[in-house]
């Protein structure tokens, strides 16, 4: 289990746990981030910027700040 911010790009990842405050969790839920969803890191911007996430299950692209990406725990789907 690794935080999304440290996960490899272009690899299917499964959401295991979403940590953090209720506000952030609610926001992520309403944007389709549920446990067990398979997501992929699409592109990384330079200078340790935000991460672009492609949610394979809900078919949605969302930009997440690094802080928030660190609160989403994922595992690599073998």
């Amino acid at each position: 289990m690794i935080p999304l911010s440290n996960a490899p790009a272009d690899t299917p990842l499964k959401i295991v746990e979403i940590e953090g405050g209720h506000g952030v969790r609610r926001r992520l839920l309403s944007l389709g981030f549920h446990k067990n969803h398979v997501i992929e890191i699409d592109k990384r911007s330079i200078l340790k910027g935000p991460i672009l996430i492609k949610n394979r299950t809900s078919d949605m692209t969302v930009a997440l700040g690094r802080g928030i990406a660190g609160k989403i725990l994922v595992e690599v789907v073998e």
Binding site: S45, P50, L64, G65
Partner: protein
């Protein structure tokens, strides 16, 4: 509660997730008659229109885009207040067919309301391109709600949608909720039975109970524990049971139920041909989001932005201001130097001043912004700028309000509504008055660029941006909690629709026309009176400690500061008038250093009166006053620094 919509005619409410094309459908039906009205209790607006279709009069209401009925920004709160408070006659749920799976979560939540409802399944062309086949009849049967396939940008399906709305209205056909897992339903029923009869019910008992369970850690909970401690305890027990059984928070359990149901229906009603999906749009995305090329393009977009301000707006403005001099001499011939001259002169100056801001600067900028927004670039710019914004304590979503600020600070402050957290909203709103709006750009161009050269003006602009960055760091230092960070949906790129762009620009222009312009006109008239009664001398004397002693400027310039508060762009004209010189003779009465100090001071010292008023209205009195104080302090400090270095 809301008296603005006429209750004699049925209300049709449009609701959908952001980027579902809701406004396109709304504009197609409502045309240009759409009215924006303030929602009682909040400052966020929704759009409504009164239409007459096939001899039927309908109120149609466009609510802000919402991902769910659990609000997280001000726009979503408006949507909720309206749905709960007004009980619309028909809900039209607009769905982007190409994202049917996740969009249905909101649909299911709306069905829980058990109000008459129609689904507008928009962007069918996009779904087809993605290889999706949606069996709409089956979807209709499964959901129990009429489903109208549409491609609104091409005008397909609008009539069918209206027909369906009328049918639903006539038959008062409301869907019934879709049951969830047995154990969750049991808990909901338990709470429903415990609801005391005097508790107000929203829509129906089940919906109320669900919303109560979901409201964990929100304001509602605090209120309930005050009013109904017994019920609160029951609610907490139910939440705990759900949490224990499902190993997640109760609100997450509820969301998961909806989610699973939506996925199941999606699989029932839609088949997706999987194939390589590297279409043209994906390839364009690869270029504009490229870690290097993307930033080059972003820089080009910013360049275009400033090009419009400097090279297009300025000459246009001069063309517009030419005839004003004619009006003035006409007025002076008519009224001499009596009070009527000053009144009418102030009036025309105010009206023309508004036109001179709107036509050359604001309209092109708003149009460009809505173009960038419509094709999906603004969200991408937010993504790419996030890194830099982070360094100054904000995040990518603040980019577009700040960009709007270059046109006019007033719509820029209105647009901070899209920021979810109060912290980000306050910081952004405090920064916007430091962004040189078109009126201040005029001064910088006329004084700095004309007398000292374009490089100085460029330097002034760059310095201004650094100042904004520095201030942002300082202000965010005072907020203990860090920014919650960016969560921003990146919609797929699409071709722009002219109708949408016009509607969006017009919507933002309205905040200027309705709000800033009247203040500007009143300010001009007030200035006219000030001159007539020769109060400028009093003002000069009052301000002389600041103007003469602290800043080292001629005492006569004191009154221009007051003008600057009422109307920034008038400061220049008033400066010449106060010094009694022509534009070209300016350098004979003041030095280059004085010119620089004056420009710095007038640019920053106080936001114009319209900006202060909109800050007051949108963010609150305290922040508006703080903003005024902050601007004065910054202007004084910067001018003193400039004075020191320029050796005055």
């Amino acid at each position: 509660m809301n008296n603005q919509t006429d209750k004699n005619h049925p209300d049709i409410v449009f609701i959908g997730q952001p980027n579902a094309g809701k406004s396109t459908i709304f504009n197609a039906l409502a045309g240009t008659k759409a009215e924006t009205s303030n929602f009682p209790g909040t400052t966020v607006t929704h759009t409504h229109s009164h239409v007459n279709i096939f001899g039927r009069e309908l109120n149609i209401i466009d609510l802000p885009g919402s991902y769910s009925l659990n609000p997280s920004d001000d726009g979503e709160k408006v949507a909720l207040t309206h749905l709960f408070g007004e009980k619309p006659d028909v809900i039209v749920n607009v769905i982007d067919a190409s994202t049917l799976g996740r969009s249905m979560e909101l649909t299911l939540e709306l069905i829980e309301l058990e109000y008459p409802m129609v689904i507008a399944l928009n962007m069918m062309d996009l779904a087809e391109k993605k290889g999706m086949t949606i069996r709409t009849e089956h979807l209709e049967k499964v959901l129990g709600v009429p489903v109208i396939p549409m491609t609104a940008v091409r005008g397909r399906g609008a009539k069918e949608l209206l027909d369906a709305c009328c049918d639903v209205l006539d038959q008062k056909k409301a869907p019934s909720f879709h049951p969830w897992s047995r154990d969750v339903e049991e808990k909901i029923e338990e709470l429903m039975e415990a609801l005391p009869p005097e508790l107000p019910v929203v829509a129906n008992k089940r919906f109320t109970a669900i919303k109560m369970i979901e409201a964990e850690n929100l304001f509602f909970d605090v209120m309930l524990s005050e009013l109904h401690p017994g019920l609160k305890e029951k609610l907490d027990n139910i939440r705990r049971d759900l949490k224990d059984r499902h190993d997640s928070e109760a609100y997450e359990v509820v969301a998961a139920e909806r989610h699973h149901l939506a996925l199941k229906y999606f699989e029932d009603c839609c088949t997706v041909k999987h194939g390589p999906q590297t279409g043209l749009l994906d390839r364009i995305d690869d270029v504009i989001m490229h870690p290097f090329l993307g930033y080059v393009i972003l820089a080009a977009v910013f360049f275009l932005f400033f090009f419009i301000i400097f090279k297009v707006g300025n000459p246009l403005e001069e063309l517009l201001l030419g005839p004003v001099a004619g009006v003035r001499s006409f007025l002076s011939a008519q009224f001499g130097t009596g009070i009527l001259f000053y009144l009418f002169d102030g009036l025309t100056q105010g009206i023309v001043g508004g036109v001179a801001i709107v036509l050359p600067y604001l309209l092109p900028l708003l149009f460009l912004m809505s173009f960038l927004d419509d094709i999906g670039y603004l969200a991408r710019a937010g993504f790419m700028m996030d890194t830099f914004m982070h360094r100054i304590g904000l995040h990518g979503k603040s980019v577009s309000p700040l960009m709007l600020g270059f046109g006019c600070n007033v719509p820029a402050i209105v647009s901070t509504r899209m920021l979810e957290s109060r912290r980000d909203k306050v910081i952004t709103a405090l920064l916007i008055p430091f962004i040189p709006c078109s009126a201040r750009t005029t001064i910088i161009l006329a004084l700095v660029a004309f007398y000292l050269g374009p490089l100085w003006a460029f330097g002034f602009y760059v310095g201004n941006l650094f100042l904004v960055a520095l201030l942002s760091r300082i202000i965010s230092f005072f907020f203990k909690s860090p920014s919650p960070g960016m969560i921003l949906e990146i919609p797929s790129l699409k071709l722009p629709s002219l109708k949408n762009m016009l509607a969006k620009s017009y919507y933002q222009l309205k905040s200027f026309i309705r709000f800033a312009w009247p203040i500007l006109i009143a300010g001009s008239v007030l200035l006219g009176l000030l001159q007539y009664f020769e109060l400028d001398r009093v003002v000069n004397t009052l301000l002389s400690p600041l103007v003469e002693h602290a800043l080292g400027l001629p005492k006569d310039l004191g009154v221009t500061l007051v003008f600057g508060f009422l109307r920034k762009e008038l400061s220049l004209v008033m400066m010449l008038q106060a010094l009694g010189v022509e534009y070209h003779g300016l350098m004979m009465v003041i030095t280059r250093s004085q010119l620089v100090i004056f420009t710095i001071f007038i640019s920053f010292f106080i936001p114009c009166i319209s900006t202060v008023a909109i800050l007051w209205k949108e963010i609150g009195r305290k922040i508006a006053l703080l903003s005024v104080g902050l601007n004065i302090v910054v202007a004084v400090i910067l001018s003193l620094i400039a004075r020191f270095f320029l050796g005055l």
